[in-house]
């Protein structure tokens, strides 16, 4: 039994090990992407600064940080198959005796670590461009909400990761279309109420909608007691409805993602799609 657990832990660690060393070897690109994430976020946050509107600035900063976190998490998992096609290693990963659940769990652990590092660096950078303070924010509550939403985004990422298996040419493109759609409908930088009426029901299907709504409340966005010098973060109890929705979404999307991935993998083995490089 211990042997099986040790083996599973090593197999999970393999993906973190690989991700860490690839990050190290591609460090100049990692810096470039982080720089781009920071400048993009700062450019958005400065819209609030230019309007001399603290509430708007806070809304944009929270949106930028959460989108960096969630999109990195999603992207790292969703693009994992596409990356392996580009490297030419996909067949070797798929013929290793790793249960697909362990494979995707390993990818998710690395993606989570990567998301935390990128979001932290963007946060530190944003503090240089804005006078936003974190004092008074319910940061513990934010972490709980992020952990809950991580499950849902892992599920979405796993489902999207199947797309490059399905179509070597179009799959990677489709993952970005899906990511862009989430950005549009989830109210990252604006309330979902400003979306056209026909899109608004779709926003209810995005886990990011609930993550953003809950985190904004926990940080104190919109609370009359919030001032530029001190935030009035709400207690965790006030976001229980969003937490429940996120956990239910995670509980549904993770198994659904694994099921979809498994079906697509089997189809690819029937059609010979694993061989083709992107």
């Amino acid at each position: 039994m211990d042997g099986a657990i040790d083996r599973t832990l090593r197999q999970t660690w393999a993906f973190v090990f690989r991700g860490y060393h690839l990050t190290r070897r591609y460090i100049s690109w990692v810096i470039v992407f982080n720089f781009y994430a920071l400048t993009g976020s700062a450019a958005v946050a400065l819209i609030g600064v230019a309007a001399h509107d603290h509430r708007l600035t806070l809304t944009l900063v929270v949106g930028a940080l959460l989108w960096n976190f969630l999109s990195t998490l999603y992207n790292e998992i969703a693009m994992s198959v596409a990356y392996e096609r580009w490297e030419g290693t996909l067949e070797y990963t798929f013929m290793a005796p790793v249960p697909r659940f362990v494979h995707l769990a390993g990818l998710s652990v690395f993606a989570l670590c990567n998301s935390i590092v990128i979001t932290t660096s963007v946060l530190l950078g944003l503090m240089l461009f804005t006078d936003i303070t974190l004092a008074g924010a319910n940061l513990g509550g934010v972490i709980v909400v992020l952990l809950a939403s991580t499950l849902a985004f892992v599920g979405l990422g796993v489902m999207a990761a199947a797309l490059p298996v399905l179509s070597p040419e179009r799959g990677a493109e489709a993952t970005h279309i899906f990511q862009g759609s989430l950005l549009l409908v989830s109210g990252v930088y604006y309330p979902v109420e400003v979306l056209p009426a026909w899109i608004q029901p779709i926003s209810a299907l995005s886990p990011a909608t609930y993550t953003l709504a809950a985190c904004r409340r926990l940080v104190g966005v919109g609370d009359p007691a919030t001032t530029p010098h001190r935030l009035a973060g709400a207690p965790l109890a006030t976001v229980v409805p969003e937490l429940v929705v996120l956990l239910v979404m995670g509980a549904a999307l993770v198994p659904l993602g694994l099921w979809v991935f498994g079906r697509v993998e089997r189809w690819a083995k029937h059609t010979g799609r694993l061989k083709r490089t992107g």
Partner: protein, 270 residues
């Protein structure tokens, strides 16, 4: 009675080609059209055939990367694809293209594989080092990124990767294609040594007749997805009344190994 290490019975596979705005249709030609053979434990079995003959398709089915349309495959008694997880623990594969993370060093690539197979790096690393030493590689190359290595060196590391998991069955898909004569000889000598010392069962696909004669106890000629002849090199030469294995292949299959492929046949493999 000793059971074969690999049993292949009436194996069939064909690929569907997608036409624009139409549903995928089955290719008229079979990539594998009813192939049957056995490989005894500890035997090196050679599969010879031109590009598009079905060699790589066969290796991919044995590697659990493809699911056959019909027939039966057993590896050390385990049926594919039903027992693919068990089979994956028993096989190592070396393909014609050394598929690695090119930016990572040999050591990083090998440790990643060891972890992927659930092995302790402290156990797997010395094994990989031993293989590399026997293949004539120096220890200092261990930390060099793969992209800075020659194709011959990359292929040796690919062999070390397949062997570090200590598999009883080794699937080699044109492992020496594109190697210089010295590297080719190193690999061939190593494979002979491996079979002798470890009793590893090897399936080897190759275009190289001399290599097949040197390494394989039994050789199968594959053409258009069919096994047209099988036996020792002497038996095949006798059956074809040919002086060389090359001549025997041409007589028995009606084509050349290296330059006889038609565009249609080559497309079938891709």
């Amino acid at each position: 009675m000793v059971l074969p290490a690999i049993q292949v019975r009436d194996l069939r596979k064909r690929f569907r080609k997608r036409r624009r705005l139409r549903k995928a249709t089955a290719s008229a030609e079979w990539a594998l059209g009813g192939v049957s053979f056995d490989v005894a434990p500890g035997e090196t079995y050679g599969l010879l055939g031109p590009n598009g003959s079905g060699k790589s398709t066969l290796i991919r089915i044995l590697s659990t990367l493809l699911i056959a349309d019909g027939g039966e495959v057993r590896v050390l008694g385990h049926r594919l694809p039903d027992e693919q997880t068990r089979v994956r623990r028993l096989i190592g594969r070396v393909s014609v293209d050394a598929a690695f993370y090119k930016k990572l060093s040999a050591r990083e690539n090998l440790l990643y594989t060891a972890l992927l197979y659930g092995l302790k790096p402290s156990v797997a690393e010395p094994r990989a080092m031993d293989v590399l030493e026997r293949l004539g590689m120096e220890e200092r190359t261990f930390t060099v990124p793969l992209e800075e290595m020659s194709r011959g060196m990359q292929q040796k590391i690919s062999i070390a990767r397949a062997l570090m998991i200590n598999p009883p069955v080794l699937l080699l898909d044109e492992p020496t294609t594109g190697l210089d004569p010295k590297s080719r000889r190193d690999v061939q000598t190593f494979l002979e040594d491996l079979r002798r010392r470890e009793g590893t069962t090897i399936v080897l696909t190759t275009h190289d007749m001399a290599e097949a004669e040197r390494l394989c106890a039994c050789i199968g000629f594959l053409a258009h997805g069919r096994l047209v002849a099988e036996g020792t090199s002497e038996l095949l030469k006798r059956a074809a009344e040919a002086a060389t294995l090359d001549d025997a292949f041409i007589k028995l299959t009606g084509e050349r190994v290296t330059d006889g492929e038609t565009p249609a046949a080559a497309a079938k493999e891709s």
